[in-house]
């Protein structure tokens, strides 16, 4: 496990630096498929629980019977795969960008708990958002362009005052949040995997609900649970919530 993490660490750093560099220079890949492939790969990498969740569970001592199961529950804070699939492409990108922005904010609060992993994941998320931005520009310039909308989530409602949670509750919530993050990235990867085919088949503004045949996406961190969350209707535009439960 440790060796596997050690192998992944340089890759994460390189990917993160690469994407950061791209974002800094504002240079976007002009080819749709290349950009889509890159997004898929990033999503596949970010859904890997060994980058964030597993070390967190180990460090917090949650890898004991009775607690480990509580970490497997995917919180309903993240959009489900069905909800993501029901969005338009621009809407999907906006939601993705907003959600990841909130994740990034939440990860900053976890810095004390996971200093190294938090930094790497933060780089990955920033790189991913940069590619989202590029994809949004690409889609906007294409025939299926929509009305330009900001990629950053709006301010959203002010979070309600929550009683100060104790350390135990904080551990469990953070654990579930990380689980939800990986689940969400898995769903994102699934939806992105359908993009390539649906674009080649038709230039529909909506995603195809069908799964791509022969989909070789890696098995996700959660199965089934996330699909029930955020049950947006197909035509309903998904707006970012602006905050995630703590």
């Amino acid at each position: 496990m440790r060796a596997q993490r050690m192998r992944r660490t340089p890759l994460s750093v390189i990917l993160g630096l690469l994407f950061l560099s791209m974002a800094a220079t504002s240079k976007c890949l002009g080819k749709y498929h290349e950009l889509l492939l890159q997004l898929r790969r990033q999503a596949d990498h970010m859904q890997d629980t060994s980058t964030l969740l597993d070390p967190y569970i180990r460090i917090q001592g949650l890898d004991t019977p009775g607690l480990k199961e509580r970490c497997r529950e995917c919180p309903r804070a993240f959009p489900s795969e069905d909800a993501l699939r029901g969005l338009s492409r621009q809407g999907f990108l906006r939601t993705l960008n907003a959600t990841l922005g909130l994740v990034l904010h939440r990860l900053t609060a976890l810095y004390q708990d996971l200093p190294e992993a938090q930094q790497l994941v933060g780089l990955n998320i920033r790189g991913f958002r940069s590619n989202i931005h590029c994809m949004s520009l690409l889609l906007r310039s294409s025939s299926e362009a929509e009305t330009p909308e900001p990629t950053q989530p709006g301010p959203g409602p002010t979070p309600p005052p929550t009683p100060p949670s104790d350390a135990f509750q904080h551990k469990l919530k953070s654990c579930r949040f990380l689980r939800g993050y990986h689940c969400f990235m898995h769903s994102v990867g699934q939806v992105l995997r359908e993009w390539g085919e649906s674009r080649s088949r038709s230039r529909s503004r909506r995603h195809s609900p069908r799964r791509a045949p022969g989909d070789t996406a890696p098995s996700g961190p959660c199965r089934g649970g996330a699909r029930r969350m955020w049950p947006f209707r197909r035509d309903r535009r998904l707006m970012p919530r602006g905050h995630l439960p703590r």
Binding site: I59, Q60, G61, L62, T64, P65, G66, L67, E69, R70, Q112, D113, P163, D166, A167, F168, K171, L172
Partner: protein, 976 residues
């Protein structure tokens, strides 16, 4: 009862004056009751905080009082704590008191009440308690949420090793609630229907993120938990203070491990000096600086206090400042005036106070080892002359200093490298020579060993070789050979030479090494011996030959014999007769030859002895190539003369000849039975002379199969077991037969060759083509009959004519002689003729002649189809043809019929067309019967014929004549 009334009256009377005094001191009546009691809960510290006042006191009045506090849990009757709190009370002053609960306050409601009593010395009378205040309830459960299960205390910071009580509050009132400490179930005590408590004893630090304790309803129900933060504060170790300049003290310590809990910051360290009463908060975990006071304080008593939220730990030291001086590291250490054998080192030190003296230690290191050590007392500048140094050598000088008044510690070291200057080489090179003749001229190879670093005194640049002819005065020949060459070759004449070799570096030459080469032949025939190798090398000894030897030299080659010789030598003193030759190049199984030379007073070398030896003998690695010869029925010879015993991995002591017989039972004499490694039995003969390289295997059985194999052996063992060579001994008489048969075959061949070469002669002599009638035996036979009518026909009398012989196609069956095939298969459709034609053209004789066959001589006329068309009398039965197929039968027939009258056979019965004969019937010789087959009918060759009487030629059919198929001539019907 009366007694009691008396006692009461007395007591009241006594109390009256006291009451009067009290009224003077206290303006308010007693007792003083606590009022405004308020209880609050501090969940973080798990404390109940009480505050109250005493209003009954007069203004500016102070009174010592004692308050008795009762605490009950769950219900007022369940008192768990009673404590008397003594304090001084003022009017309207709020009093505070706290109580820390072991059981988390959230798990149970607590009830508190108190009462008071004056406890002041100014009131001599004994006090009495006031009334109890009303019960005040402290219930932290009211602030809990709606979760079904709670565990307390939340996020408690405890010290490692302490005991902690945790509890849970269940709102679902179920019994199936289990609690776990780091996944291990723990068991506690049920305090209430919905509350249970667990005591964790001697808690230990597990991780910085805290120890997880949780409770849950079984089978995936509600979950509640807490995190215990276990703090650990170690006592600082190795606490000490020292100064480098008597101005600042530096105290250091080992803080131990830091739990680094997020719940609390790292422990803090405070340095406190008791004499001055000063203290400072240290900025670092393991060291702290302290400014020395200017008031000449010499003694210091420091206390280091380590502190966190939960506890403090401290250590103290007491010392005199001047005994804790640790000088600073010296600086500016340099060599000065560096020569070949000496150098001066200079350095500086930081001054300590006024006129303080430092003791400095100067060490000199060569190749990492301290070779010199000197102590120098200095104030600021240090200097020392190092001597007895080696030229051209790298040294390291290092200096450290200590406070002279009170030694505490050496300062840190300062080091400096330097090299001494070069000097001329101090020793002559070790020279040796190897002599050989090249094209008739003595050629000397000079070798020398490089000087050791100790003797070279610098880098050797070149070697000078000076050659001086001792026999006739001549000019010195000087050769300069640049380093790092270690040899040179000189071609000399048949004279004696003296050779000087010197090594040169930048400074000058070394002493010369002198060697004398003799012009005459050396002593090559010397005693040879063996030398045994040991782990240390070869122990070589020799016998001195002359008394004036100035030394000895042992010479050898480091490598194996088949490699170029790397000449090695060892110089030895004149009184030495043995030495041990050791070399890292020596290998087991390699033969080394040592040559011992005696060096005469004239520096000439004479060969004394040669020795050969092995560092470790090994078994032979290969076997000789054996040639088998002289194979007889009883013996054969084996030889392996090409096998070299010198190049073997051990001294060859002999050979083993293995012999396998087919039977394997009996060994020939001189052989003994032995068992081979593969458990087969064979015969073995041991040859114990390594120079005997032939062996005759005798006493063998003829026509037997033998297998042999020869292997050498050393003291370690024999060679590898190779394949046996198989031979078969020949038959005992075969050689005799060969001696007879071969000459016979040769003779036969000679005869055949002669016969072939003389075949014409033989033919003429033995079987001429045209028999000479005069030599015919028939003639003699005729003569013996004395028949005067018979004569020999002369060829010259023959008149050539043509005759025709017609074979009538009567459709009769005819058979060919020899094949006896029925002619019905080859029926004649035309008459067969024999033509007798004139032969003028071919005949060169005196007259024409008719040529035809005399079938009397024909043995196999039917073998030729072209000439076999002979008409046969139809009456002649086929079986009568047979006897004539052989000459013997024919001769018999001739002999038999010849005696009969020719007229016995009627001419008409022959039913033949007569053919003419060249000879009279009386002529002929039965001994010269032709054996050649008849020529074809078209043959025009003239052949001598013999006339045969008709009676002889044609037998009646009734007589079963064998000549029925032969065309014969009738008497008097000659066509000549």
């Amino acid at each position: 009862m009366a007694l009691f009334a008396v006692f009461q009256t007395t007591f009241l009377l006594a109390l009256l004056p006291l009451r009067t005094y009290e009224s003077e001191v206290l303006s308010e009546p007693l007792p003083l009751t606590p009022e405004s009691l308020k209880v609050s809960v501090n969940s973080t510290r798990q404390c109940l905080h009480l505050q109250w006042t005493v209003h009954s006191l007069a203004y500016h009045q102070e009174l010592k009082m004692v308050f008795q506090i009762q605490i009950s849990r769950f219900k007022t009757s369940n008192v768990i704590w009673v404590e008397n709190y003594r304090t001084t009370v003022k009017r309207n002053r709020v009093l505070h008191w706290s109580w820390e609960s072991k059981l988390p306050l959230e798990c149970a409601a607590h009830f508190i009440r108190m009462r008071s009593m004056v406890d002041d010395a100014r009131i001599p009378k004994p006090g009495f308690w006031s009334n109890w205040s009303s019960w005040e309830e402290a219930d932290a459960q009211n602030s809990l949420g709606r979760d079904p299960l709670f565990v307390f205390p939340k996020d408690k910071l405890v010290e490692e090793g302490s005991n902690v009580t945790i509890c849970y509050v269940s709102r679902i009132h179920q019994d199936n609630i289990s609690c776990y400490l780091e996944g291990v179930q723990i068991y506690g005590e049920q305090l209430d229907r919905s509350v249970s408590a667990f005591e964790l004893k001697n808690v230990s630090f597990i991780r910085k993120k805290g120890t997880n304790v949780f409770c849950k309803v079984d089978q995936g129900g509600a979950l509640g938990g807490i995190v215990l933060f276990v703090s650990m504060l170690e006592e600082p170790k190795d606490f000490s203070c020292e100064t480098q300049d008597l101005k600042t003290l530096t105290c250091t310590w080992d803080p131990g491990s830091d739990t680094g809990l997020s719940k609390q910051p790292s422990q803090s360290y405070t340095l406190f000096e008791s004499f001055s009463g000063k203290k400072t908060l240290c900025k670092h975990r393991n060291w702290c600086n302290w400014q020395v006071a200017q008031d000449s304080q010499e003694t210091y008593n420091f206390t280091l206090v380590a502190e966190n939220y939960l506890r403090k730990r401290s250590v103290s030291i007491l010392f005199n400042l001047t005994q804790r001086v640790h000088p600073m590291t010296p600086y500016k250490l340099f060599p000065k005036n560096v020569g070949a054998t000496n150098a001066t080192m200079t350095w500086k030190v930081h001054s300590i106070g006024n006129n303080s003296t430092l003791l400095c230690q100067l060490e000199l290191l060569a190749e990492g080892k301290v070779i010199q050590q000197h102590n120098v007392s200095i104030k600021v500048n240090g200097e020392y002359l190092l001597s007895e140094l080696e030229p051209d050598t790298e040294y390291v000088a290092r200096v450290r200093c200590a406070y002279t008044n009170h030694f505490w510690k050496w300062s840190e070291l300062i080091s400096q490298k330097f090299n001494t200057a070069e000097a001329a080489p101090s020793e002559a090179p070790d020279v040796w020579r190897n002599m050989k003749m090249v094209s008739g001229h003595p050629t000397v190879s000079l070798f020398w060993k490089p000087l050791s670093k100790v003797h070279a005194n610098g880098k050797i640049l070149f070697y000078n070789v000076i050659v001086e002819n001792l026999d006739k005065p001549s000019r010195l020949e000087v050769l300069s050979i640049p380093a790092p060459a270690r040899s040179t070759e000189l071609t000399l004449s048949q004279c004696s030479y003296q050779i000087h070799v010197t090594a040169h570096n930048n400074v000058g030459p070394s002493p010369a090494s002198v060697i004398v080469i003799s012009g005459g032949p050396g002593n090559e025939e010397v005693e040879s011996g063996r030398v045994n190798g040991t782990e240390d090398g070869f122990s070589v000894s020799w016998k001195p030959q002359s008394g004036d030897a100035t030394g000895y030299v042992v010479e050898w080659c480091d490598g194996p014999q088949d490699l170029p010789c790397v000449l090695q030598w060892k110089n030895l003193g004149p009184n030495t007769t043995s030495t041990v030759i050791s070399s890292g190049a020596f290998r087991p199984g390699v033969r080394y030859n040592f040559r011992i030379y005696e060096i005469s007073a004239k520096r000439m070398a004479h060969l004394l002895e040669t020795k050969a030896g092995y560092l470790e003998e090994l078994a032979p690695s290969d076997n000789p190539q054996v040639v088998m010869s002289n194979l007889t029925s009883h013996s054969f010879t084996l030889s392996w003369k090409d096998y070299s015993t010198e190049s073997q991995p051990g001294f060859i002591q002999g050979y083993h000849v293995y012999l396998k017989t087919k039977a394997g039972e009996h060994c020939p004499p001189a052989f003994e039975k032995t068992v081979l490694p593969e458990d087969s039995v064979c015969c073995r003969h041991t040859i114990d002379n390594p120079e005997q390289k032939t062996f005759v295997v005798e006493n063998l059985q003829p026509e037997s199969i033998y297998e042999f194999f020869v292997t050498p052996y050393t003291s370690v063992g024999e060679g590898p077991l190779d394949a046996f060579t198989k031979i078969t001994t020949p038959d005992e008489y075969s050689h005799i037969l060969i001696r007879i048969i071969l000459p016979m075959i040769f003779c036969v061949l000679i005869v055949m060759i002669i016969c072939y070469l003389k075949r014409q002669w033989l033919k003429e002599k033995c079987y001429p083509d045209i028999p000479d009638p005069y030599k015919s035996s028939v003639l003699s036979l005729i003569k013996s009959k004395e028949n005067p009518h018979l004569t020999i026909m002369n060829v010259n009398d023959c008149v050539p004519d043509a005759i025709e012989v017609i074979n009538k196609p009567e459709g009769s069956k005819i058979q060919f002689l020899g094949t006896r095939k029925s002619l019905t298969e080859t029926e004649f459709t035309k008459p067969a003729y024999i033509y007798l034609l004139p032969t003028e053209k071919n005949y060169s004789g005196p007259g024409p002649c008719i040529c035809f066959e005399n079938f009397t001589y024909n043995q196999a006329a039917s073998d030729f189809a072209s000439c076999g068309h002979f008409p046969v009398t139809p009456q002649a039965p086929p079986h009568q043809l047979g006897p004539l197929t052989s000459p013997e039968n024919l001769l018999k027939a001739l002999e038999q019929n010849y005696m009969n009258s020719l007229g016995e056979i009627p001419a008409g019965e022959a039913n033949l067309n007569y053919v003419s004969q060249l000879a009279s019937p009386t002529s002929g010789d039965k001994d010269s019967l032709p054996t050649n087959p008849p020529e074809p009918a078209l043959c025009s060759e003239y052949k001598m014929q013999m006339a045969i009487p008709l009676g002889l030629a044609s037998a009646p059919p009734s007589e079963n004549s064998s000549l029925s198929s032969t065309t014969l001539l009738g008497q008097g019907e000659h066509y000549c």
